[in-house]
Amino acid sequence: MYFMEARAKLIDLAAFLDRVERAAGEDDFRVAALRRALGELSGNGGQRARRALLSLSDPTSEPLAAAQGKSACGAWAGQGR
């Protein structure tokens, strides 16, 4: 089960990274975060979904002083943003 679906998603992801590479400008932080998360897929030991989600997550613990908008963007922007 699921092989063809996973294969299709893999090729879509590869095409997305190619598309980003062809575009002008530098990677934004989300693409960089996606590349880091991809590293969680290799190797053994299971929990790849959990590890990929953790790598995209805000690791801090203090509440923010105020919200800058309502939406999430899918990857933690880091301390600098």
Binding site: M1, A49, R50, L56, S57, D58, P63, L64, A66, A67
Partner: protein, 269 residues
Amino acid sequence: MRYIEPHAHMVSRTTDDYAAMAAAGCQAVCEPAFWAGFDRSSAAGFYDYFRQLTEFEPKRAAKFGLTHYCWLCVNPKESEDLKLAIEVIDLIPRFLDRPNVIGIGEIGLNKNTRNELKALEAQIDLAARHKQLILVHTPHLEDKLKGTKLIVDALKSDSRIEPGRVIIDHVEEHTIELALNAGFWAGMTLYPESKCTAARAVDMIDLYGAERLWMNSACDWGVSVPLAVPRAALEMRARGHGRAAIDKLIYGNPREFMSQCPKFGVNHE
């Protein structure tokens, strides 16, 4: 197949959706109060919304043979304006005795701010004072892990809160243990892109078992699927889960949790 839809924003859906859910075996639909996609400008806007949830929507659902229940709160997306949030929280007790209100929800966090946390704590206190069940919304995407930790800490710091009367919704692989290990229930929301697919939900059932776990569609005004729960049941069947195991997940578990509110009952019981 019979199932309970424990989290659906039916005010955003059509009568076709009600008809399809009833045809698929839905026995009851439960609607947490949420963000309308825009900020309401006053507490009066929430007052009207609570009337819609407790007066109009139950009648609309009944036309399709469905019992409609709701949860009331000010949602985290509108909690950043703390003055407004407190005004809305003060309105809620006058609705708690209405026959289809089964708890406080979906409370929680969105961007994990101080004001959101204050509004959350005020609503945990409201639930404790009125002995209400709690349904928790956890934040989206990169904010979910931090928000879930803050929410669990806030709930655990109030000694009046019994974890078995709280469901932490929208869990994913990196947050499900935070909910279950602390004794709370956990909800998996089945969305086409964000949150959780049916395949991942069945993975988590395989890994963590079927206790204190439910699945919901959280269908609303955005991209979402009102029949996500029965479709996930088909996924369970394809993965080898038997009839009884499926019935427990999609009917027995939500019934067990929400029956802790004496007002909750399922049609034909």
